[in-house]
Symmetry: C2
Amino acid sequence: MANVYLKISYDGSNYSGWQVQANTSQTIQEKVEKVVSKFNNRPTRIYGASRTDAGVHAFGQRAQFQLEVDIPLAKIPQAFNGELPDDIVCLKAWQTPPDFHVRHDALAKKYIYRIYNRTYANVFLRKYSYHCYYDLKVADMVKAASYFTGEKDFSAFQAQGCSNSTTVKEIYQSRITPKDNGEIWLEVVGSGFLYKMMRIIAGTLINVGKGKLAPEDISSIIASQDRTKAGFTAPAKGLTLQEIYYDQEILAKEVKK
Amino acid sequence: MANVYLKISYDGSNYSGWQVQANTSQTIQEKVEKVVSKFNNRPTRIYGASRTDAGVHAFGQRAQFQLEVDIPLAKIPQAFNGELPDDIVCLKAWQTPPDFHVRHDALAKKYIYRIYNRTYANVFLRKYSYHCYYDLKVADMVKAASYFTGEKDFSAFQAQGCSNSTTVKEIYQSRITPKDNGEIWLEVVGSGFLYKMMRIIAGTLINVGKGKLAPEDISSIIASQDRTKAGFTAPAKGLTLQEIYYDQEILAKEVKK
């Protein structure tokens, strides 16, 4: 028996989000639990590091559970991928210390919000990038994105419907990068994120790109702690949970097998 | 009434290819014809520059037809996109000389074959890139790709089932490029392509990457004119018709509206 956690990627297009819900047949957690339970030969609960919303994607989600059969860690991804649907892929497995908690012990997360900024849609990105056909002022968005870094109260960028113990989060990196294929990527690394925070940041930066807000307005919007001052909640499909960071030294102590 | 041609992109995943077929309900040609016919208010045939196979994608396909209603060229993409399914997008429309032929007048085509070369699949590329988990020798593939350039008889790279007037084609560019995300792109520009030629070239280069063939073997395979000497036909989903090149000066003479 081992305390294990997985790195999992998924295309969220066809799911009602990560978390198992009553009356919802399609969640990612449920699909992964089904496979873990099959290997354990009994119903097994798994715990995700992040509860991604309906339609949101992940490249580096993490999921923790008790593995009760003897499979070498290196064999787990291939074994699980053989049972998972083709829009969910297990990339790696680690063994962890007994007191490790995949959500509480996460030090930081990286999200990417993708905007496709050409006149007509890109069929290959239609499920992974939000199509905005306005000619966005990218230089202004680059400047505006920089105002999010630091430890701040992000109440203005929190949707209703979730109670957080604190609305103060530290953003380590926030940057906008134009890509050759017509995309604009918003990449944000932070200690944590409030409910729909990343999508509200994206919507606010798109408003800057449209000229509805000046880059300097970001400071006063954050200071206002008023959700109505920030921009719209950008669509889920543009958002990807890219990576979650842990203290590798703590993990390494236990992973000797 | 005007002779018009469109630049069209599509995700070929859910189609039986470009061309209308008896007993097949889902072809891209049929979907576009339906829209053109609706605007013309009578059944209208369209002609594609390339008959892409089932599962093959296009960024720059071209389709020609007689437009019988008065719509400004610049308004056509938006008008058509409003009626097309979301996996087919019209990117541009041109008016052409009366004797223009979208297939015969194409000077060259560019195809891209995408290979995803990491251990586990990438969920976001699963429909657009062929997953090869062998650790491919990219430097050998780069060298091997260069042997395809020039005017040659490519009989060894032609699948049965299509009668071409000539098996001699000129390849202007053939290159392999590794990408940061784990993909390897094969980009080939040529005067024309034989049936499944691009996918057989891709399969042969993958065999070079696996060490089954040496880069220098490409010359003798081409010289053999023997299909059995070349590699496997790589899967359709990795292939995208990227661009088709026309003589813009000839087109420009007529496009004055």
